[in-house]
């Protein structure tokens, strides 16, 4: 009797799709809960304890009643919202111009647009401080008079530097989203005689909105949780944000401290979840994606203008900090002006040969970054699938809580992870503390949101019919995910994985508390060198790490023939 489906003939006995789906969802839930939710919940419990007088939720209320906390909250909302606007503006403009017009040298420009994420944020901020006090600015009449406080030490400075730093998040998300635009709609609009700008505004922008909101959500969450820039620019500028306020509380020692810190961190977590719900609440138009790439808009005479403006913008944003980094690494000592006769490689020699921690840190960070990117992408794909195409409530909840470990300051996450993972894991009686495993767990918890957001956005755009057809043909869930869903969302997944790789490579605040001898990370090594007053050596290490990433990028570019289209983000 020929009632055997063709697919099941190859894949053996067909289990009930319900069983496999439930198992996968449970596995995903365990992953997200064990890594991200459990440690933070353990810490947040301290926030919900009764206060010293015994009143309900006393610790929480006591913290949030102080003017310091309320001011910090307002500052955080203010600065982060404005920084997100800056990021969206830069990211969208660059993504639109690069993806939709016929500008030349797209690959190079795309690559340059990705660079801000490669340079550690404290170095970018320092480069900006140098730029604004340099002679160039003095010529423009914008430099502060000697003795006057640098204008970057203010809300405006924080907004500018954070906005630029996070613009890459928006850029990657939007660009990946633009790949799915339906060609026929846009061609119809142009055939109808619409001006290209009109087409961009009324046809393309609404279609790209889901990806834009995904990028904006990431930029917002990254801003509220940013510690480095508010510390460097906000402290002298007397502009306290929640992350620096939390750090103030970490100064104290004693059982009360955890509760105070947790009470403030709860606030950050709530902001993160709210920020993440934005793309869900404000939904764009979901239309079935096309497969043919768009024909680029010809810019005609304004092409030269557009190219120059774009190069200038990207050079200021991305190349200038790198040049500052390189210059700092070649200087013989702090403050000695760099000239051809004073340039030296001594810092590189010190970093690579005299300090064996550096090479270990490279190995550790590369391993951690690769593993985190890979595992997170593998988890995000089924999670996004269930949340979007299968309308699973569990998956949606998991998606919402995945943002919290990304938004809370790294120090808070590290403390939470110590609380839960210091005692040995039950059954196996092995403690992960002091091993590289605990840093991996922290990274997996922290960075999942980076790949989940773009993947969710892309998942909302793909054609459900394909999946259903495959299901009817008898393909099991895992095969469908691999062969049908993944190719459609590959650009977004890769964009997210790339974001994770770059962020994890330079990560600092989490590994600062979790590392130990032999398990150093790059961020820890660079920060330690700078903290001890040896910034030339710190710059040397950071430069090597940027060079390494560039080398990996070259490798990926040469392999692009073998990889699916759109996987290498800077290749059209």
């Amino acid at each position: 009797m020929a009632s055997v489906h063709p697919a099941s003939y190859f894949f053996g006995k067909r289990r009930s799709p319900w069983g496999r789906r439930r198992v996968l969802i449970i596995a995903l839930a365990v992953y997200v809960v064990a890594l991200g939710v459990l440690p933070l919940a353990r810490l947040f419990v301290e926030a919900f304890l009764p206060g010293r007088g015994g009143e309900l939720f006393g610790v929480l209320l006591q913290q949030w009643r102080t003017p310091a906390a309320q001011t910090a909250l307002i500052h955080t909302l203010e600065a982060s919202a404005l920084a997100t606007l800056v990021s969206v503006l830069i990211g969208v403009v660059v993504a639109f111009v690069l993806a939709l017009t016929d500008i030349r040298n797209k690959a190079a420009l795309t690559f340059v647009a990705l660079l801000p994420l490669l340079v550690p944020s404290q170095i970018t901020a320092l480069a900006w401080i140098e730029l604004t006090s340099s002679s160039m600015f003095a010529l423009l009449g914008l430099a502060p008079a000697p003795g006057e406080t640098n204008m970057l030490y203010s809300k405006g400075g924080i907004v500018l530097v954070m906005g630029i730093e996070h613009s890459t998040l928006v850029f990657l998300a939007v660009r990946a989203g633009l790949r799915n635009l339906p060609r026929d709609l846009i061609e119809a609009a142009r055939l109808g005689g619409a001006h290209p700008l009109r087409v961009a505004r009324s046809v393309i922008l609404p279609l790209a909105l889901p990806a834009l909101l995904a990028g904006a959500a990431l930029a917002f969450v990254a801003s509220i949780g940013n510690f480095g820039i508010p510390a460097l620019l906000g402290i002298p500028g007397r502009y306290t944000m929640l992350t620096t306020l939390i750090y103030q509380h970490l100064q104290g020692f004693g059982p009360r401290v955890l509760g105070e810190v947790a009470a403030l961190a709860v606030g950050l977590g709530a902001l993160a979840v709210a920020g993440l719900l934005l793309p869900v609440v404000v939904r764009g138009f979901a239309i079935q994606g096309g497969s043919a790439p768009l024909e680029p808009f010809p810019l005609g005479r304004s092409r030269a203008w557009a190219e120059s403006l774009l190069w200038i913008l990207l050079t200021v944003i991305a190349v200038m900090p790198l040049v500052a980094l390189l210059a700092a690494s070649l200087a013989p000592a702090l403050g000695v002006p760099l000239r051809f006769d004073t340039a030296t490689l001594a810092n590189y020699r010190f970093a690579l040969l005299e300090q064996d921690a550096t090479l270990r840190a490279f190995g550790n960070s590369l391993l951690l970054a690769f593993t985190t990117a890979l595992v997170s992408a593998a988890v995000a794909l089924p999670l996004a699938y269930f949340a979007t195409l299968r309308q699973s409530r569990t998956a949606r909840v998991l998606d919402a809580v995945a943002a919290v470990p990304y938004a809370v300051p790294g120090t808070v996450l590290a403390i939470a992870i110590i609380l839960v993972f210091l005692p040995p894991v039950p059954l196996l009686n092995v403690s992960l503390y002091g091993t590289i495993g605990i840093i991996l767990i922290a990274y997996l918890a922290r960075f999942l949101a980076l790949v989940l957001r773009p993947t969710m956005a892309a998942m909302g755009l793909i054609n459900k019919n394909l999946d259903e057809a495959a299901q009817i043909a008898g393909a099991p869930l895992l095969l469908r995910l691999r062969a049908v869903i993944l190719p459609s969302v590959a650009p977004s997944v890769m964009a997210g994985a790339l974001l994770i790789f770059m962020s994890a490579l330079n990560e600092l605040t989490v590994s600062a508390l979790l590392w130990s001898t032999g398990r150093e990370t790059l961020g820890v090594v660079v920060f330690a060198l700078q903290y001890e007053g040896n910034s030339p050596a710190a710059a040397a290490v950071a430069t090597i790490s940027v060079a390494l990433t560039l080398a990996l990028a070259m490798l990926a570019t040469t392999l692009r023939g073998r990889l699916p289209e759109g996987v290498v983000p800077w290749q059209a």
Binding site: G147, I235, G252, A333, I415
Partner: protein, 332 residues
């Protein structure tokens, strides 16, 4: 024929057993865990020198700012499994917090006879190992006449170009601010004037030397060895010991009660208090605490140092309010 599922189960079980056995066998009997805020490259040399006389002790480090070290300790204590055997941090205020929390082991048998009494805890729970002073660093390109007094920083033209280390981020700054506010000629008035006239506070001494060496600021309040080390490398900086005096920290070392290797910990403390360790500190730019050892080249003799008097108990009691008040003035 073994089914795949069964094979997998056996492999998993074998892995678990192997992990448990490895965990039991690898229980280190010569491991010493040191939590410190001393710079990493220096600690690497310290460990190297220590292991020459104690080759069977395996030293592992956690090195970060004083705040991070205390946070990590706090989290571990809350989780119930503290890992550190020895702490070696910048200032006595932080280590007294540990002492008051009943975390430190008393070690009366430590060979501290040559160490000045002022550097040793009366209950013998911690011992100072170095003398680190806080003074003024200047950028030699921007400052033509070196300041001689702390008061030279007060005029608006100087204060606006001054950067200090923030006590929230630096143990040395905790002691420095605590000492300054106790002096009748300075007090909080001094800091308020500085803040009003445009002085800023930075994250740690590293940020201070960076700002001053690069010429972003002209004056910095910083620990001496960072300034001298930068000067030796060629940075355009110089260090001044103000005439009213300097504040000093002693970088105390202590053993935790919960240490699982008290013998090794005691050996480390003994070594830190020895002549050998003092000689090594001098090569790293620290003032020695034994009177008969020559200080680093270019440093004034220890006996000529004027250290401002400080009431340590009061500093401890006012620690939180000092930090809060400083943060209100300078941001944080």
């Amino acid at each position: 024929m073994i089914r795949f599922g069964t094979l997998l189960a056996w492999l998993l079980a074998a892995g678990v057993v192997a992990g448990m056995v490895a965990g039991a066998v690898a229980a280190p009997s010569g491991r010493l865990m040191v939590y410190t805020s001393q710079p990493s490259d220096q600690m690497a040399k310290v460990v190297e020198a220590f292991r020459k006389t104690h080759p069977d002790i395996r030293v592992e480090l956690f090195r970060s700012g004083t705040t991070e070290v205390m946070n990590k300790l706090q989290a571990e204590l809350a989780a119930g499994r503290p890992q550190a055997d020895v702490v070696l941090i910048a200032d006595a205020v932080a280590i007294t917090q540990l002492k008051n929390d009943n975390r430190l082991l008393s070690y009366p048998g430590a060979p501290a006879s040559k160490v000045p009494a002022a550097l040793i805890d009366p209950d013998r729970t911690y011992f100072g190992t170095k003398l680190i002073t806080t003074g003024i660093v200047i950028n030699t390109n921007l400052v033509k006449t070196a300041p001689r007094s702390w008061k030279d920083l007060l005029p608006a033209s100087a204060a606006g170009k001054t950067i200090l280390a923030h006590p929230l981020y630096s143990g040395a700054a905790v002691i420095h601010i605590g000492t300054m506010v106790q002096q009748s000629e300075f007090g909080w008035r001094y800091l308020e004037t500085l803040a009003r006239s445009g002085a800023i506070a930075a994250r740690g001494n590293g940020a201070v030397i960076e700002a001053v060496a690069r010429g972003e600021k002209a004056y910095g309040v910083i620990i001496e060895y960072m300034a001298f080390n930068a000067k030796a490398k060629g940075s355009p900086v110089d260090f001044v010991f103000p005439e009213e005096g300097v504040s000093a920290i002693t970088q105390p070392v202590a053993i935790l009660k919960t240490s699982r290797n008290v013998e090794a910990a005691k050996a480390f403390v003994d070594w830190q208090l020895s002549v050998e360790a003092q000689l090594q500190s001098v090569t790293q730019g620290y003032f020695p605490i034994f009177p008969d050892i020559v200080p680093p080249k270019g440093y004034p003799p220890v006996s000529s140092l004027k250290i401002m008097p400080g009431d340590f108990a009061a500093m401890l009691a006012n620690d939180e309010s000092n930090k809060r008040r400083f943060t209100e003035l300078f941001g944080g």
